[in-house]
Amino acid sequence: MNKNKQYKTICLSLMRLLEIDKEKNSKIADYINNYGIVNFFENMRLMELGEDTQKKLQAVKDILLYIENVDSRQGGGPYEN
């Protein structure tokens, strides 16, 4: 996997989903490229991105958190020989 390519992809998707301007997108892209996507979502509240953008980013984070914490495939016992 080309990590840089994935960073570019996710930044582009974020820009289109959040409908943010180039300046904000550039800020986000710089951070993600330097520190990664996980660190970005952990520290995004520290970036001056404006209330509206922060709200939308929090929404993305809530969705990611839900997917991480809710496993719809639980169940089934151990394999038996």
């Binding site: 996997m1 990590k3 994935q6 960073y7 992809t9 996710i10 998707s13 974020l14 289109r16 989903l17 959040l18 800020k27 710089d30 951070y31 330097n34 520190y35 990664g36 996507i37 996980v38 660190n39 952990e42 520290n43 520290l46 970036m47 001056e48 709200k55 939308k56 929090q58 929404a59 993305v60 984070k61 809530d62 969705i63 990611l64 958190l65 839900y66 997917i67 914490n69 809710v70 496993d71 719809s72 639980q74």
Partner: protein, 278 residues
């Protein structure tokens, strides 16, 4: 399927915020279906084209995130030099023009960031630092060291007397606890200064730990450091530069100021470690 109610609500609200699909529609769907199906089978909710496009973008982000997360698992941010610490804090502080913000990055034994917190924010000219709050966070996350940082909205890059004093106060508190203050970064615009690079990080505790709030600001004290002559005079009078440079590792200086620590520094005055009332 197991779901956790608070997460589900946030998930549905998040979907509403990002896609524009009404919360009522989402909630009604989620009563009898797996909420994740909204992403997999959005047409079941009778969404319009624009909402469909947004859901598609969200799915791309989720997929990319999950992929990158596994690759980043070992990529914690690590401070190995003042310039790295500065490069971390500058983007977080350079845009803050209307107030002073004081931040702390709590680090583990390998100098990787455990977490970063904004510890206080003030006005354009000053902020208060609350040592007890920093202590609480430090003990909560079991950090081994920290890098502190704040901004000068006015743009002056030279550390003030208050900046140096707050560093000493925190060292007085944390050195007896074997928690090092590795550096104090001051950000002004896109420029910065590192007290470590400037040789202004005290190596030892000087006074008893004092947990009273500390006023921090570019112009807090009259004896502000305005130019190089005043700056050097202040440093010389306080005896900081000579003492500290003598103790700095030559190798560290030669190797582009790689981060050192205070763990091996001795404590000039022995302090009994008092029970701290938090």
């Amino acid at each position: 399927m197991k779901t956790k109610r608070p997460y589900t609500e946030s998930f549905l609200k998040g979907l509403k915020t990002l896609t524009g699909v009404s919360y009522r529609k989402l909630e009604s769907y989620a009563k009898d279906n797996n909420p994740l199906n909204v992403l997999e089978h959005p047409k079941a909710l009778d969404v319009n084209d624009r909402q469909l496009e947004k859901i598609g973008l969200l799915k791309e982000i989720i997929a990319s995130y999950n992929l990158l997360k596994s690759y980043e698992h070992e990529d914690k941010i690590k401070f190995t030099s003042p310039s790295q610490a500065a490069n971390y804090f500058v983007p977080l502080l350079s845009g803050v023009k209307d107030k002073e913000r004081f931040m702390v990055a709590f680090l583990d034994a390998k100098n990787s960031i455990i977490e970063t917190q904004i510890m206080s924010e003030g006005t354009v000219s000053q902020a208060a630092v609350y040592p007890r709050e920093i202590l609480k966070k430090a003990l909560d996350c079991s950090c081994s060291s920290m890098v502190i940082a704040h901004n000068h909205p006015g743009g002056g890059i030279k550390p003030s007397k208050a900046d140096i004093e707050v560093t000493q106060r925190l060292i007085d508190i944390f050195t007896p606890l074997d928690i090092a203050i590795l550096d104090h970064i001051i950000v002004a615009g896109i420029d910065y200064t590192s007290l470590r690079v400037d040789g202004l990080i005290p190596q030892n505790s000087k006074n008893r730990a004092n947990y009273e709030p500390i006023r921090l600001g570019e112009n807090t004290f009259k004896q502000n450091i305005e130019n190089d002559d005043v700056y050097e005079k202040f440093v010389k009078e306080e005896g900081w530069q000579t003492e500290l440079n003598a103790k700095l590792d030559d190798e560290m200086l030669a190797n582009d100021n790689s981060m050192g620590g205070q763990k091996t520094g001795g404590i000039e005055e022995k302090h009994e470690i008092e029970e701290i009332e938090i």
